[in-house]
């Protein structure tokens, strides 16, 4: 199989794997959308805390939506013709479909697992199946891959790509892939999509009557955090806290980083709506909340340094989280009241 097809696709580094891939795919097809814009329209912002489900020996905390939400919603809200193949049973079929797309000059996004991804930095290789990358070229047995977390495009062999696309475990990718069918020629109005995106995010963060999702989940976690040292001992409490921080900081800039991206989205949206005052204010509030998340990380990290002797009181950390939750709730309530 001596085939060589490399699509002229521009790789740009981004803060969040999926919105970065989505924004890059849009740009390839001729629609200039920044990463925060794709993130905001596609409802990247989310929070859920699931204490009874353990990931890497600690409670599951997620700062992002289910995989593929960003791409699916942003294309739906913008009215762009796109294809999402949810599940392909036979791995060979999945690779053949990918090859065919490449021959037709369509860069294709894939959901992959991180653990066996060969070019990924080893210290980040944990079992996390919600990563996204875009395949844009093939040279014999090697595939050219644009992973927005990395600075440069990467190479991966066919066998390795097949393995990560069929990684098993929670949220298994099952060969999921997505792409945009045609180049976008007609001008697209972003405003209705932005309104829809904001409404959906607000609803997901404060509107769902279930205590573990959104701001309510954040509060629940803050209350649990206070109890951990008594319940599990200092060692385990410190590790659980570490899990929150790892989720908030590391995996694809993490939850705190997402708040910055959302703030940037609100700012862009505000400028698009002729300097909409309330949107700009909300953006400012979001940025300040995100800074508080950073402070929380620095406070918490000191507890992780010396596991058996916590330097910070867990009560203080819990209060900080409650403060963050209150700050975020204010932003969403402000957004909810805005009339466009």
């Amino acid at each position: 199989m001596e085939t060589k097809t490399i699509i002229n696709y521009t790789h740009r580094q981004a803060g969040h794997c999926e919105s970065g891939a989505t924004s890059n795919l849009f740009k390839f097809n001729g629609l200039e959308i920044s990463e925060p814009m794709a993130f905001g329209i596609g409802n990247g912002l989310y929070f859920s805390y699931i204490p009874f489900l353990k990931i890497q020996f600690a409670p599951m905390i997620s700062f992002r939506n289910l995989p593929n939400t960003v791409f699916k919603r942003s294309t739906a809200y913008l009215g762009i013709d796109a294809t999402v193949v949810k599940k392909i049973k036979d791995p060979e079929d999945a690779m053949n479909l990918l090859d065919r797309n490449l021959e037709n000059g369509i860069p294709t996004g894939c959901q992959v697992g991180v653990f066996q991804l060969t070019f990924f930095p080893p210290e980040y290789r944990m079992h996390y199946n919600m990563h996204n990358l875009v395949v844009f070229g093939k040279d014999g047995n090697m595939y050219h891959v644009s992973d927005t977390v990395m600075e440069l495009p990467q190479l991966i062999t066919r066998e390795d790509l097949l393995r990560v696309r069929y990684a098993k475990g929670a949220f298994a990718p099952q060969g999921k892939m997505y792409w945009i069918n045609h180049a976008i020629s007609k001008p697209i109005d972003l405003k209705p999509a932005i309104i829809k995106g904001i409404k959906k995010t607000v609803n997901e963060m404060i509107g769902i009557p279930f205590p573990l999702i959104g701001v309510k989940g954040l509060r629940w976690m803050a209350r649990d955090l206070k109890k951990w040292p008594k319940k599990h001992g200092d060692n385990k409490a410190s590790f659980y806290l570490g899990q929150i921080l790892r989720m908030a900081e590391d995996f694809g800039t993490g939850g705190a980083g997402f708040r910055y991206i959302y703030g940037a989205f609100l700012k862009e949206a505000g400028e698009l709506f002729d300097n909409h005052q309330e949107l700009l204010e909300a953006s400012d509030m979001m940025g300040k909340t995100a800074n508080k998340w950073r402070e929380f990380t620095y406070m918490g990290a000191r507890n992780c340094k010396n596991r058996s002797k916590p330097e910070e009181n867990y009560g203080t950390l819990s209060e900080k989280l409650l403060e963050i939750a209150a700050g975020e709730e204010k932003v969403y309530q402000k957004l909810k009241k805005i009339k466009f």
């Binding site: 580094q13 977390v149 800039t253 940025g287 800074n291």
Partner: protein, 131 residues
């Protein structure tokens, strides 16, 4: 300097890896910067890898002293728990836990061993012993 003290960051790949992150200054300016991770990030990553190393070493000792089967060692080495392992290998949780006993493991058929070997991405010969 700090990187030298830190075993996780000794590997070569780390030096080449920079991450894009956003930040916010008062006055409404969001900035994108590309850079290495800060100290807080290192601490929490270090903590996780310390724990994983502890668990792997503990599992290795148990296997060597005949208290557990190599499946336990390879499970810890791949950062899995029994539930995830059962999902990855396609063997029920109850049977996976049953195979943690060395006596049971030694009687396993090649077919079952192959399932584990595939899940861990190693050969059957490697699976039979710990390194």
């Amino acid at each position: 300097m700090e990187e030298n003290l830190n075993p996780v960051y000794k590997n070569k790949a780390y030096g080449q890896y920079r991450e894009l992150s956003y930040s916010y200054q008062d006055g409404g300016k969001f900035e994108k910067t590309v850079g290495f991770h800060g100290e807080a990030d290192r601490l929490i990553l270090q903590q996780a890898w310390d724990l994983f190393q502890e668990r792997i070493e503990d599992a290795r000792q148990r296997v060597l002293s005949g208290k557990a089967s190599p499946v336990v060692y390879y499970m810890e080495k791949n950062l899995l728990d029994p539930l995830n392992l059962s999902m990855m290998a396609g063997i029920s949780l109850w049977r996976v836990k049953w195979h943690f006993k060395p006596g049971v493991f030694n009687r396993l058929k090649n077919k079952t061993l192959l399932k584990y070997a595939e899940a861990f991405n190693i050969t059957i010969d490697q699976l039979r012993k710990v390194d």
